[in-house]
Each structure stands twice: as C-alpha cells, then as structure tokens.
C-alpha cells in the first residue's frame, strides 16, 4: 500500500532545502495546469469491427475522430479477446496510414517485376482483367485460373473463382499451417479444433505444451485463457528446443530434439496404456481400437524415446502420470502450425489419442463443444461444376485425398503452375498473401509466375509476390470497409460485424466491391446480387431475425454459453463423435479405408551431421507472419530477426553475439543476419523469427532487414497429407 512509502522522502540529500521553510507540500496546490493538446481526448465516436491483423479476429471498438480512425480498442463483449488487443491489433491503424500502401489501380508497364507501373482507372483495370480472363478461359477452360488467398478477407475472391468455374482456390492455412493437426483430430474424433481452438483453458490444471508457444504465437483470447489458468496454479510442461517466453512460465522446460515430438508422444501413450492411466470409463464407452493401439505402441518404450528425443525415460513416465492425475482438466497442447516433419499426421494423431486417453472431450478443463450462431448464407445460383480436379491434388483421390479441398495445398499449387501440370494454369488471382514468404520454395514461385498469361494481385500493401503482377488492385484495409459477418463457435455462439471506421483512403475499394464489379465484367453478376457488403450482411442478418442496424449498435450478438451443451459429459449427457464409426477411433478407420499406412508408426527424421544444425523458426507476439514487418510501429519493436545460437556452438564457430553470420542449407540456399548467442536454445539447433528478410524495395521499412526463413525452411512433404515438412532443413552457420 502507499503507506509503505519510505519516509526518508528524498532521493539524495542536497543543498536545495536550505531556504525551505516548513516544507509546504507543493503538490497539494490546486494549480491550474495546461495539458498539451495531444493529451486530451477529443470528441469521438466508436464503431465496431473485428481485427484483420491476424487470423484470430478479435472484436474491436474503433475510435473515430474527424472522420478518421484514431485508436483501436477491444470489444469486451467479444469472446475471442474479451476486451484485450495485442500489439499487432493496436498497430492496425498503420496498416491504413502506411505511406507505402498501394493507393491506385496500377498497370504493369515494363517486364514482370521490373517495377514500372502506370496508374489506371478502376474501369480500365476491370476491362483488362476481364479480357484476359475470358480469353484464357476460352483457350484453356475455367480451371486455368488459380486463386491464392491468404486466410482472412478472401471470401469474395473464392466466390468469384468458383463462379468462374475453377476448383483451384487455395490459402496457406491448411498446407502450410494447421492442416495435420486438424486432419488428425478429424480422423480420430471427427472434431477438428478449428481456427479458434475449443479448449477450456481457464479450467485446465495441467498443460503439456508440444512446442505451442502460446505467449508469442499469440492469439488474445487463447493466450489470456492460458495465462489465467497458469495464474490460478495450473502446471505447465513446455516441450520445445527453444526456451521461449512460454517456457519461462512453465514449471519445466524439456528441450526436446527437433522433429522427435512424435517419439516422445508415442512413449507417453505406451506408458499410459501400460500403467492403465487412461480414463477407463470413457475409453470403454466411446473409443475403438485400444487393443490394436496397445500392440502398435508396445515397442515405443520410454527408454527408446529417450534415445530418440533426449527426454529422460523417467520424466516421460512421470509426465504420463501427472497428466493422468490431473485429467480430465489436462491437455496435451498441439502446436498450431504442425508442418515440420515427414509424419506430422502421426504427431497430430498421437496428440489427439493422448487427449482421448485422458478423456478430455466435453469435460471442464478439456475440450468443449462450441455453440454456433447460424446465420444463413444468401441464396445464390449453384456454382458451375468444375470438371477438372484440383491442380494441387488436395482432396483428389489418388493424390492427396485427406487434404482440405477448400484451402488446398498452396505449395503444390505453386508447383502445379510452375510445371503446368496436370493442366495449364495461365491465370493467377491473388488476394493478399505473399507466396514467397509463406511458402518455402522461392524457385517454384518464380518459375510459376513466368508461366502465367495474366496475374492480378489485390492487396493493401506492396510485397515480393505482388510486385510481379500485371495489374495491382489496391484494396481498402479492414478499417475502411464492411465485410461479411463473423460467425463464431466459442462457448458462446456469436455473430459479429465489421463496420468501416472511415471512407476508403486513396483510390482503394473493398474486396466485395472489387469482386462484384469484376464479376459483372465477366458475366458472373448472378453470384454477386448485392450492391454492397453492407447489403449482403443485412440480408443474412434478416434471415437470422436480426438486422445490420441492430448489430451496428452492439458490434456483436451472442447466444449465451450453455454448460450442458459445452460440456455434455459433465451433465450426464452423451458426447457426439462424427467419425465413420461414431466413436473415437484410436486407430483411424479412414486411413485404412483409403488403403493408406495409418501414420501411427514413428518415422525417423533427419539428424545434423558435424557442424550442421536443425533449422527452426517461429513467431514473436508483435509480428504476424510475414505481413507486419513493414508496419512502422511494429518494426520499431523489432526491425530485424536474429539467429539464435547456443554459446557452445557459437564458440566453436568463433561467433560472438551481434556478429553477422551466413546460414546455408544443404541446397545452398543462403541468408545472412545477425547472431544472438543465447542459452535459450539447444546446441544442435538454430532459430530465427519468421517473416523477415523482405527483398521488395517498395517496403521501405522492412526491405533488407534480417533473413527470410522461408528461403531456408525445407520443401519436403508430409507423406499422408502433402503438407510441407518445413522443419527438415539442416543448415551450416558461418561467421561473415
């Protein structure tokens, strides 16, 4: 309390008190003081929105003054963030006010990528695009169009592409990120965790974090829930080659050998079955395949795992017991981006199986069933049937049948364009995103772009990929537009609205307007019957018994959480698992049905030779992927990335903290950056923060800063899903 104030009063004794009489407390005076104009909160109004700085989409209240967004705050009613906003969300203002932003529709004048542009009118841009699209459609069929999106505001582009008749729409979210995790949960339990994971974090008592760096790969609501649990005393075991901020909150850090998580998890499964630590009641009532599983994991002893992953056998046994002791309020926490090894599906399955053995489904502190707020889609004519299969093979039998056909496999799509196989792809439409920085194959992307007849890029800011476009369409940022509704599945069901905080700046337009106007030119107007996004969402809301006007005053409408439906098994109600068998399948039947090896078995991964390191990368809490490095406010927090290297390894190479080093993989791909010598990483592993090393000079702030991990990450594939095994790169480090 303030009363504990040290009565010694002054910092240093000095001569100034010489003339003081009585020590009249100056601060008690009621003097009139003038704050600076900047220190006033002028008159303003608030509009509701949801964030677009990452994929989590927090609810926002945007303060608007003089017709301009001036401050972003959280909407306390929104379950995704409960009022808090991260640094990225706060810096969203600079996405709109960035001087480097794309401001006008531009036509390429010189060579692709030569950087010669001419401002053209929107009409001219649409006319040129329509002419090129119709010509190529005629020549090659509609499947010659590929649409590569980016994960957030791309919905109208998907619609446009599907109306055009192509199946080839893709975003990085599946093949470069969460794919294996979601497929694994789908195969085992028929229930993916979704983009906003359905974990009852606050009530969980024990977290086994499998490299889930939840404090730095940060999503407000999720992180806050986890921090609440830890503050309430939940135990954390953090498994990661690197000591992250999340590790600093854990009671235990296990610096596992990279790529061997699967071995560790298999041994845990074995111990849990061997020692009958699992939830016998749940396993008996709800699962299939325990005996087969037991047989299959018999050879994965803790001692074997210790050899493979470097975690002591006794610790593995202990952790299995601790997990069981806290079940069902215990979680084996999957990483969000599970694209590391050639058997990520196996890792994902093991996590899902462990959670099943712990019986966490539909239990407090475990995995809950979300409520939804159904808002019907507008009535549209059916999309034309695409005769051709997807070019990336996602969902295509005999190719990658398990891959998600909505988001596809972005890397394979780039390869398909580069090789023009299985059929010519001559048109590319990108909506946000940056192929170079989110895939791992610069070469394939360059070759792909060379194959195109026409490349249209819609984006807010310049980046490496869109500098090759033939026409660049400047989009309004999320602060300047209506968008389709956000309907969510948390404990509460909700529908939230994005309202414009200001008119579109410069000569920009929102995605819905762009797609509608383009569709009109392409003769596809029937799929865009609404005059604007506002009209579209108003129609959807009316069908749900709401209205846009109502939502605009609140920002969000919620269906209250219902414990009986979120946690049916806590209330004597049954759980539902929509698998082929209707049960949780400990050995997934779908893999068998597809004639695939069932991925349960451990697949040995690459190991560094002398002088080599495992290459890893990850995130910090104040940058989103490769999207925000040019944001002046966020760049101020971290302007370039560094190569984390253990002091033992560094001293062998004569590298000191701050030295410039070159990192090269076995294919002679190279990047240079500064070294950070730290004990916070294993000696056989190096690490860098993702998203730096931008080489587009139009990005004034980010250009040439740090190194591009995308140019070093492996191009290997997971054998079951076609997702990218980014962690399989081995690199050498050399002092420059």
């Amino acid at each position: 309390m303030s009363k504990t104030t040290d009565p010694s009063r002054r910092r240093f004794l000095g001569g100034a008190g010489l003339l003081a009489v009585g020590g009249y407390p100056a601060r008690a005076l009621a003097r009139v003081k003038a704050p600076h104009a900047a220190e006033m909160l002028g008159p303003s109004r608030e509009v509701f929105s949801f964030c677009d700085m990452c994929y989590w989409r927090c609810g926002l209240k945007i303060r608007v003054r003089d017709g301009r967004a001036v401050k972003i705050e959280g909407n306390p009613e929104h379950p995704n963030n409960r009022g808090v906003v991260c640094a990225k969300g706060n810096a969203g203002l600079m996405a709109a006010y960035d001087p480097d932003r794309l401001k006008f529709p531009l036509l390429r004048m010189g060579e692709r990528g030569a950087g010669k542009w001419k401002r053209i009118s929107w009409d001219e841009a649409y006319d040129r695009i329509a002419a090129a699209f119709l010509k190529a459609k005629e020549q090659y069929g509609p499947e010659t169009l590929a649409m590569i999106g980016h994960g957030t505001w791309e919905k109208p582009y998907h619609r446009l592409a599907h109306a055009f008749g192509t199946p080839n729409t893709t975003s990085p979210v599946f093949g470069l990120c969460c794919g294996p995790r979601d497929v694994a949960n789908q195969l085992v339990a028929g229930r993916p965790l979704g983009g906003n994971e359905t974990l009852d974090l606050e009530n969980c008592r024990y977290f086994l974090m499998m490299g889930r760096n939840i404090t730095e790969s940060l999503h407000n609501g999720e992180t806050l829930g986890w921090v609440e649990a830890v503050a309430k005393g939940a135990q954390v075991v953090y498994v990661d080659p690197r000591y992250t901020i999340t590790a600093s909150k854990a009671k235990e850090w296990l610096p596992i050998r990279p790529l061997t998580d699967h071995a560790f998890l298999l041994a845990l499964i074995r111990v849990m079955i061997e020692e009958r630590l699992y939830d016998t009641e749940f396993v008996a009532a709800y699962t299939l395949g325990l005996e087969e599983l037991e047989r299959r994991v018999a050879r994965y002893t803790p001692e074997w795992a210790e050899e493979e992953c470097g975690i002591a056998a006794k610790d593995i046994r202990r952790i299995a017991r601790e997990l069981a002791a806290h079940a069902p309020a215990a979680l084996v926490y999957s990483p969000r981006r599970l694209t590391r090894t050639s058997n990520d599906l196996g890792t994902g399955l093991a996590i899902s199986i462990l959670n099943t053995l712990l019986g966490v489904w539909d239990r407090e502190g475990g995995i809950f069933s979300p409520l939804s707020f159904p808002v019907p889609e507008p009535d549209l004519p059916p999309f034309p049937h695409a005769d051709a299969p997807r070019a990336d093979g996602a969902g295509v039998e005999g190719v990658w049948p398990l891959a998600n056909a909505q988001y596809g496999l972005t890397n394979q799509m780039w390869s398909a364009i580069a090789e023009q196989k299985p059929y010519p792809i001559k048109l590319l439409l990108t909506a946000g995103g940056n192929g170079f920085m989110n895939s791992t194959d610069f070469d394939a992307i360059r070759r792909a772009i060379g194959q195109l007849d026409f490349f249209v890029a819609a984006d807010i800011a310049p980046n490496e990929m869109n500098q090759y476009a033939d026409i660049l369409l400047p989009e309004a940022s999320y602060l300047e537009r209506y968008d389709d509704l956000q309907t969510g599945g948390a404990k509460e069901g909700f529908v939230a609205v994005r309202m414009p905080a200001m008119k579109p700046l410069h000569d920009t337009r929102d995605a819905w307007t762009i797609c509608k106007q383009l569709a009109g030119r392409l003769g596809l107007g029937a799929w865009f019957p609404h005059a604007s996004a506002a009209e579209l969402i108003d129609e959807r809301l009316k069908k749900a018994g709401l209205s846009l006007a109502e939502l605009e005053t609140k920002g969000i409408v919620k269906k209250p959480a219902d414990p009986a439906r979120n946690f049916p098994r806590e209330h004597g109600l049954p759980s539902v698992f929509p698998t082929p068998s209707g049960k949780v399948e400990l050995v997934p039947s779908r893999l068998k049905a597809l004639g695939m090896d069932d991925a349960l078995d451990y697949l040995p991964q690459v190991r560094p030779q002398d002088g080599e390191f495992h290459f890893t990368f990850g995130r910090v809490g104040f940058h989103t992927h490769a999207r925000t490095q040019n944001n002046p406010w966020l760049a101020d927090l971290m302007g370039e990335n560094e190569l984390w290297i253990h002091p033992d390894a560094a001293s062998r190479q004569g590298i000191r903290d701050g030295d410039r080093v070159e990192v090269a993989d076995r294919n002679s791909r190279k990047e240079t950056l500064r070294a950070k010598v730290t004990r916070r990483i294993r000696p056989d592993t190096v690490f860098m923060v993702h998203g730096f090393g931008h080489f587009d000079p139009r990005m004034r702030t980010a250009h040439g800063k740090g190194a591009a991990d995308a140019n070093l990450a492996s191009r290997d594939r997971d054998g079951h899903l076609g997702t990218v095994a980014m962690g399989r790169s081995l690199v050498r480090v050399r002092k420059l």
């Binding site: 006010y97 001087p99 531009l106 542009w117 920009t508």
Partner: protein
C-alpha cells in the same frame, strides 16, 4: 493582370504540373496558362518560360511513366511522396494529424478532393489548387491563405521540391519543382511582408 489573379494562376499552373500528365490537360489547360504567365512581367516569367512541355504523344507517355515512377509506385520505394502529411508527420504515416489543417480550410470553403481523383486532401495538387482558390478571392481569404502557407505548403514543399529535383530524370519535373519552390517562397515573403509573420500567429488561427 491583378496580383491576386497572377498568384491564382501560378498556383493553378503548379498544381497542374504535378497532376498526372494527360495530353488533353497539358495542351489545353497548362500550356495556355503558362503562355499567359510567360507574357506577364514579373519574377515568375523566367521560371514559367523554362517549362519544357512535352511535344507529342511519345513524350507525354514518357512523362507519364516518370510521373508514376516518382509519385505513385516504383521498383524502389516511391522516391517522392507527394503528400504534405508525409513530410510533416514524421515520414511514417499518411493521413496524420497535419491533415486536419487542410481539411478544415477545405471544409470552410465547402471543398473536398474530387471523388474520382482518389487523392488525399494534402496531396500537392489538392493543396495548390486550394491555394489558387483562396488567392482568387483577392485577399478576402488572407487568414486562410496564411494558415495554409505557413502551416503546410511553406513547411514541406521545399523538401518535396528538392526531392523531386534529386530524383527525377525528366527536365520537366525539375523545372516544375523549381517553379513551385520559387512560387511558394515568393508567397511566403509576400504574406510575411503584408501581415507580419510569426509561427505563433499561424498557430492561433489554426486553433481558432
């Protein structure tokens, strides 16, 4: 010509020079304007006469490319940002706080950037046209002129003009930048002499 008329036309000409070059506009608006000013005695005469207008479609197209390279988008970053706020608000933001000054004057005059132009109110073209509009009223809008000049144009166009001269490969933009620089400097001297200049004065008006 009356003095205010000349000032109006000079600002209009400068605005036009920094607009996207279109043959129509160059031939039928800017060239006659320059010719008229070039025949009127005054310190601007030399600068106006020195303007190398493009001859023919090829040269105009060439100029268009240079315009886009300089002010719109280039391989490197945009070499010269044509927005006042960029220069006044720390070069890391557009639509920053300095824009309010211009918007307030525009609102007082019932003006705003044309919808189709897609230009921010503090784009060099908008500010100069606003100045021309104010000047055309023969000194009646002197306080607003003063605010626009001392809080905006005179504070950023010198840097802007220098950047244009350093970055352009076209004689045309060099001459245009020089003309703009001189025009603003003369305005500054003139307004300072007429009304007395302190930063404080301008600020007060700004706040009022």
């Amino acid at each position: 010509m009356a003095e205010h008329d000349i000032r109006m036309k000079l600002h209009l000409l400068c605005a036009g020079l920094f607009a996207e070059p279109e043959a129509e506009h160059l031939e039928h608006v800017l060239r006659p304007l320059a010719a008229e000013l070039g025949q009127t005695d005054g310190p601007w005469q030399e600068g106006v006469r020195a303007l190398p207008f493009p001859e023919g479609g090829r040269e105009t197209a060439q100029l268009g490319l240079e315009y886009n390279r300089l002010f719109v988008l280039a391989k490197g970053h945009v070499p010269v940002q044509p927005y006042g706020g960029y220069w006044l608000d720390g070069k890391s933001t557009l639509y920053g706080p300095s824009l309010r000054t211009v918007e307030r004057i525009m609102a007082a005059e019932g003006l705003e950037p044309a919808q189709a132009s897609g230009l921010a109110p503090d784009h060099v073209v908008c500010e100069l046209e606003l100045m021309a509009h104010l000047a055309s009223q023969g000194g009646k809008k002197a306080p607003l002129e003063k605010t626009l000049l001392f809080n905006h144009l005179a504070r950023w166009t010198p840097d802007f003009c220098r950047a244009v001269m350093e970055n352009t490969r076209e004689e045309f933009y060099c001459a245009a930048a020089k003309l703009l620089e001189e025009t603003v400097a003369r305005d500054e001297a003139r307004l300072a002499a007429h009304m007395g200049r302190t930063a404080g004065d301008a600020d007060e008006e700004e706040q009022a």
